[in-house]
Each structure stands twice: as structure tokens, then as C-alpha cells.
Amino acid sequence: MPNESVETISTKIWRETAEADNPFAAADCFCAGYNVYGDLLKNASYIDYLFLLFKLEPPNTQQSALLEGLAIALANPGPRDHSVRAAMSAGVGGSTHPSALIAALSVGAGNLGGAREVFHAVEYWQHCNTSLKEWQQLIKNPPEEGRADVWLPMEHPPGFDPNGVSCATPVKQTLAHLAEVGPMPHLIWLQENRQQLEEFAGCPLAFSGVAAAAFVDLDFSPEQAEMLYLLLRLPGAAVHALEQEKLGWRKYPFFADGFKLNP
């Protein structure tokens, strides 16, 4: 145990023992009680370890399959996505590689298709659960903003795409797959009631809505869901930034047409 008078970092996630010759190097690292380099490294999948980090308990088979599916679904939003476009904008200008991910995080954090939308959508789930009546009420009368916040107010029901026309095929495919991988009550209910909810919202379900339901089935808090959604979408940003870096700014849209300054 550290000396009582020394300032310490309190954590339920991580424990270390020191190397015999160096108190600044860990000999053993334990995550939620599991030896990371002596046990998890050999025996756990990456997805299971990710779950363990957030929940401090290993996932069961269904939870593991659900997070695995969600991670694949979110790994690359594609080069038309705002966050990936931000990363590619770093790539074409020859910016540093970390800046591409910082840009993707900055843009992918928001209320439209971003992590903050997932945060709010999980809050909606916590409030409404599987009550159509509650969903209808909350969508009709969204929570009033309290005092001013750094986040802009939501402009659409969280989890739905205000610019969508009908529910996109990949969203439906993801929902169908994730609802199938185990007894996932919220995803199954969402699958069964999607169209009704879309009618309430006036727009189709989005990836953020499916992700939020999955996070609720995984018992993630809104804050945990927001964080993991940010993390899970970074691989696509990384590879598209690298690809565009090679191609350069000359082969990337600059939108010379259709850009006119308002008088």
C-alpha cells in the first residue's frame, strides 16, 4: 500500500505491482482482477477485454457477440461520414496522423450522427425503456434545456436521422443482426417497433439509434456509450486519412463549384 501522505490515483479498474529493480515500471498489471499480460493477453479476445475495461466483468457469450457486431458495424462509417471527412481533410493536407484522429473525434462527437447523439439516445432509452407511449411523449416533448451548456441543443430526436428518407439498409441489417445475437430485449423491441418510432420521430432510425439500443442492452451508461462510440468509429477515420494522404489534395474535393458567399 502506498504511503498515506502521498497523493494517489484511486481506481477500480487497474492494479499494478512494481518490478523488483524499478518502482516506476509495472511487473504485473491487473484489470478488474485479471492479469493482463499473464492471462488476458493469451486468453481473451480484444472485444472481451474492451468490455471488461468498461464493465469490470467479462461479457457473457451474447454480450461478447453483441459488442463484436457493434464494433464491426461502427468501425468504418465510410468516407462520406462527417468524422471520416474530417480525418481525410487532415490526410490531404499532409497533417500529422494524430491530428486526423483528433479531427475525427472533434467532428464525430456531435449531436448529428455523433457520440453526443448516442449519449442522448441512451438517456431516452433509460427514460422510456420499451414503452411506446413514453417514447411518443418524449419525442413530442423533448427535455427542456436547463442552464446553458457547451453542447448545442438537440435539433432532432436522438437516434434518428433528420436528413433520412427511409431507414437505410445497413442500419436495418445491423439492427437485425444485433437483435439476433442473444436475448437482447431493447434491440428486439426496437426491431419490432422501429416503424412506429420513426413515425413519432418523423424521420428514420439511424446508426446512432441502433448503437444506443445495443449499449443499453450491454448495460452501458450514457457516458460509457458516448466514449465507446467515439473509439469504435476511429478505424475508418484512420485508414481513409492514410489513403487520402497518399492521393493528396489535388484528388480530393475542394468544392470549387457551388460555393457562393451570401451577400
Binding site: 516506476f24 462527417h82 487532415a90 464525430g108 435539433e155 489534395w249
Partner: protein, 268 residues
């Protein structure tokens, strides 16, 4: 237990040399009391002092003009500003937008790499000149080694419209007549007549102006860190006040797939 770590001496032991906050009492920056000795300084002079230790209203004014004239274009298509516009359209926060834009500003074709690189180049070029090398030899060596010269050539446009107004301002405060500025324009003249036809851009001009004032590449780099914020911020504000998702939406046909379109099947 024997301790071999080089870190032991720093444990709970840090001696900053630039400053500190004394709670409920004072703030010290580079040996001066912020509330009584630095409180009247314009912000740019304060930043200059914080970053470089220099106290010079003239250099601060010169840098401030660079921020206004050279680095704050509020065009959301410029790649670093585009981060802020995308953040606005995706309804992120203003600070995340600015942070993303600033991070991306360490770019190769604009921003911090040319800014630091041009200053470094001029110091090396001046040293080589004083060793007797010709300007042509210096530039050719740079091109041979790095395939470009920081501060010359420009994406999208050929000439740089910022050069004239920046030099005009510099002259108005009695800057812009030093040896590095002369060197910068001499190199520009030379490069514009090569097959590259690269013209001097604003990074070279600013680097030379500040080299003549005695700033090092790192000094200029630090002083340029926040220089692009006034361009990025309005791009965020503008996009966040228009329809969400409305900033240059791309339909799927805007992707030009450049590989074989044959569908493959994952192993089952």
C-alpha cells in the same frame, strides 16, 4: 531495494522555469507578477513573452498582423477550417471544432510545417551563403534532398495574395528590410524562374520577417500555434447556424471506387 530509474529524482519534485499560480495570491510568468507587472500588456505581447521570453511591442504587432492578414481566412473549404465547418454541421462543440482545426494545422501544404520549415531553411541558407555557397546551390540542394522548399509554391493558387499586404504592414512598422527578407525574395525570384515556377508564399515572408527580428524556428512555431483560430471559429459558427448536415453533403456516387468491383465472400 536499489532504485535505478532516472525518474526517481523527479518524484513529487518538479521545478518549472516559466511560471506558476500561487493560490489566492499571485501568478508568476517568467519571473514577473502577472497582476502587477504584466497586467497592462496586450494579449499578443503577453503570448510573445510567455512563449519566447521576449518583450517587444513591435514583434507582437508584427505577429498580430500576420494572424489577421495571413492565417485567418474564414473559408470552410480550406482543410483545417473544414474540420470546424464539419463539426458545426455535425453539431459538435465550438472548442472541439477549434481544437480539431488547430491540430490539423500542423500540415505539410500549409500551416505549421511550412512556417517552422521556412524559418529553419532561411537560417540554414544564410549559414551556407556565409560559407560561400551560391543561392542556386543552396536551393538545388534543398530540392534534391526534400523535393520542395518550404515557403515556396502553393496549393490551389499560384501567387500568394497575402504577400503584398503583409509586406506593406511590415514596412509601416519599420520591419521588412533585413537580410532574411531579402534572401526570401531572392530565392522566390530564383524559384519562379525554374521549371517549378514556384512563387514565394506567405510562410516564407513571415518566416523571413521574424527571422530578421531574431525569432528561432521554434519561437515562430509556438507563436503560430493559435494563429488559425479566427479563421476556423467563424466556419464552425456559420455551419452550426445552417441546417444540420447541410455542409456539402455527398451522395454515394461521389465515391469513385478504384479497385475491382467483384464482390468477395468472407470465410465462414
Amino acid at each position: 531495494m536499489p532504485v535505478h530509474s532516472k525518474l526517481e529524482k523527479f518524484e513529487d519534485n518538479w521545478h518549472p522555469s516559466v511560471g506558476c499560480w500561487v493560490p489566492n495570491e499571485k501568478v508568476i510568468l517568467r519571473g514577473k507578477d502577472v497582476f502587477t507587472e504584466l497586467n497592462d500588456k496586450p494579449w499578443m505581447e503577453y503570448l510573445l513573452y510567455a512563449a519566447t521570453g521576449k518583450e517587444s511591442p513591435k514583434i507582437a504587432r508584427l505577429i498580430e498582423a500576420m494572424w489577421v492578414i495571413c492565417t485567418s481566412f474564414p473559408d470552410p473549404r480550406i482543410w483545417n477550417n473544414r474540420i470546424s465547418a464539419l463539426a458545426g454541421t455535425a453539431r459538435s462543440t465550438g472548442v472541439l471544432a477549434a481544437a480539431g482545426s488547430l491540430a490539423v494545422t500542423e500540415a505539410t501544404v500549409y500551416g505549421l510545417k511550412p512556417i517552422k520549415g521556412a524559418t529553419d531553411f532561411f537560417y540554414r541558407a544564410e549559414a551556407s551563403l556565409s560559407e560561400g555557397k551560391s543561392l542556386e546551390q543552396i536551393v538545388k540542394q534543398e530540392l534534391k534532398q526534400f523535393r520542395s522548399v518550404y515557403g515556396y509554391g502553393r496549393p490551389i493558387a499560384d501567387a500568394d495574395e497575402r504577400v503584398k499586404p503583409m509586406m506593406k504592414f511590415a514596412h509601416s512598422i519599420d520591419c521588412g528590410k533585413g537580410k532574411y527578407v531579402k534572401l526570401a525574395f531572392d530565392i522566390g525570384e530564383y524559384l519562379s524562374n525554374t521549371r517549378l515556377k514556384h512563387q514565394i508564399n506567405i510562410a516564407a515572408v513571415c518566416a523571413a520577417l521574424l527571422a530578421d527580428e531574431g525569432l528561432s524556428p521554434m519561437d515562430f512555431y509556438h507563436m503560430a500555434t493559435l494563429a488559425f483560430t479566427a479563421g476556423a471559429m467563424p466556419c464552425f459558427i456559420d455551419a452550426s447556424q445552417q441546417q444540420e448536415g447541410g455542409f456539402f453533403p455527398l451522395r454515394t456516387s461521389r465515391l469513385r471506387y478504384t479497385c475491382d468491383e467483384q464482390v468477395r465472400h468472407w470465410r465462414v
